[in-house]
Amino acid sequence: MTDVSVASPCHLRINGQSYSADLPPSVTLLDLLRERLDLTGTKKGCDHGQCGACTVLVDGKRVKSCLILAVSIPDAEVTTIEGLAPDGHLHPMQQAFIDRDAFQCGYCTPGQIMSAVALLEEGHVHTREEIREFMSGNLCRCGAYNGIVDAIEQVVARQQQERAGEAA
């Protein structure tokens, strides 16, 4: 059993880099990223798990970083929006959001993109209705939803073209 103490050890890999520190257990993954590591691409919207602006990947799965204690996911692999384009080349989903006008103010966009990247892996992208349902954890106050679904469909279509090309 881990010792009961005020500060607890936190070991993570964030965008491929190791991170270790003793943290107050009340520090959320979101606050660790933004306030201690200056990874401010991940946004704080509602801070209650309702808006999705704080969406990141933990061990490849999309989660709301505002509802996770950083000390409670030992040795997890965390990917933020900064980790999608490590070499400066945009991820296809980032490019698709630009191509399809999938944002206005941009505040929800990092969360939308992280969620959409995970959605592609999950495969719930057969119809617009299915994409909308499985993107329902990300709110956009500007109402760019149609562009967001367009962007996801663009990436899905290009992936299908590439697969068809490889098969041919």
Binding site: T2, S26, K61, R62, E122, T127, E130, E133, N138
Partner: protein, 335 residues
């Protein structure tokens, strides 16, 4: 958020022995939110995630055991669940959002708190949050509140979708605590508020949900989870109905029904299930079942609409299940 100490035991025996003012952490999707709202104020958090409780495995009786720490997303996507218990998969996918379901666990789903607005606001009187202070929901803005199982002390709904399906499926809950192990039917797990609304369920101090068992009967296509809410997705039920029917020769052999959004716990009425057994599906039969399910309903200032809506949802859900055309959780048109 207030400060607290944190531990992460790796055996159940250690996890069961806890000091006062402790909360268990599983997925955290409800607990962390409540701590930020200053509704939950634990001094210690015992993180259960080092315990090996995330298996989903077949039982000798032909049923299925769902580990308490399996996530809602992994449970709904598991082939043994989606193929044999599509009612459960459907109800899980009707709840929360993909990100929440990726963290939220099966055990945590049972133990989540109400989403009553007054419970969430520490400045308001609430017997569930602060015993003895009164119930602000009674006579207040109570459009979302319960109409069944309420008391003078509390009219808050239990918000889960998953538990409504588990109640219809007659699941059982396995617990381990300082006094040993026990098994409780899901239908008896949650408590009516009566005059102790702060006790949501029958858990004792130090007791932990280890798994949930599903009996063999999964109902195949003759099921539905029909959820009516204020928006198409990511909202709690105003009224929801889980139905499983065992059909033969156009006759209902066995009926299992539970309701969400209307009760202070997942709402089941065995008399309504008995009333359907051995009968041929018909609108008048379903209307009788709805009347039976809603017997004793009491409305308050703003929630009388639930009493009009609920019978329609029950009748439609029974029709969907009898026809073998369950409600899609993606294509939201209701047929």
């Amino acid at each position: 958020m207030r400060q607290f100490s944190y531990s992460r035991p790796d055996t159940l025996g250690t996890a069961c022995h806890i000091p006062d003012h402790t909360r268990y952490l599983a997925g955290g999707t409800n607990l962390i939110d409540l701590m930020k709202s200053d509704v939950e104020r634990p001094e210690h958090i015992v993180d259960l995630n080092a315990l090996s409780l995330s298996q989903i495995e077949e039982r000798p009786d032909g049923g299925l055991r769902l580990g308490a720490l399996a996530t809602n997303a992994d449970t709904a996507a598991h082939p043994l669940v989606s193929e044999r218990y599509p009612l459960l998969a459907s109800a899980i996918l009707a709840g929360a959002s993909p990100q929440i379901r990726n963290r939220a666990t099966n055990g945590g789903n049972l133990n989540q708190r109400t989403r009553c607005h007054y419970f969430y606001d520490p400045d308001m009187a609430c017997n569930k949050r602060s015993p003895g202070t009164g119930c602000s929901a009674k006579g207040g803005r109570n459009r979302i509140m319960a109409i069944l199982g309420t008391s003078d002390a509390c009219i808050a709904t239990f918000p889960s979708d998953m538990c409504v399906a588990l109640a219809a499926l007659n699941a059982t809950v396995n617990l381990t605590g300082p006094e040993g192990e026990r098994t409780v039917p899901l239908r008896n797990y949650h408590r009516l508020p009566e005059d102790t609304p702060w006790q949501d369920n029958i858990l004792c101090a130090g007791e932990i949900v280890t798994s949930i068992d599903l009996p063999p009967l999964g109902f195949g296509p003759h099921h539905t989870y029909l959820k009516i809410r204020d928006r198409l997705s990511f909202a709690f039920a105003i009224v929801s109905v889980a139905v499983g029917l065992q059909m033969g020769n156009n006759t209902i052999r066995k009926a299992c029904i539970a309701m969400g959004g209307v009760g202070t716990k997942p709402w089941c009425v065995p008399e309504a299930e008995a009333l359907l057994a051995g009968k041929t599906p018909s609108p008048s039969l379903f209307r009788d079942a709805a009347d039976c399910l809603l017997q004793g309903a009491v409305t308050d200032r703003d929630n009388a609409a639930k009493l009009k809506l609920a019978p329609r949802v029950i009748i439609r859900a029974l029709s969907q299940a009898a026809a073998g055309t369950p409600q899609s959780q993606t294509q939201k048109t209701i047929f």
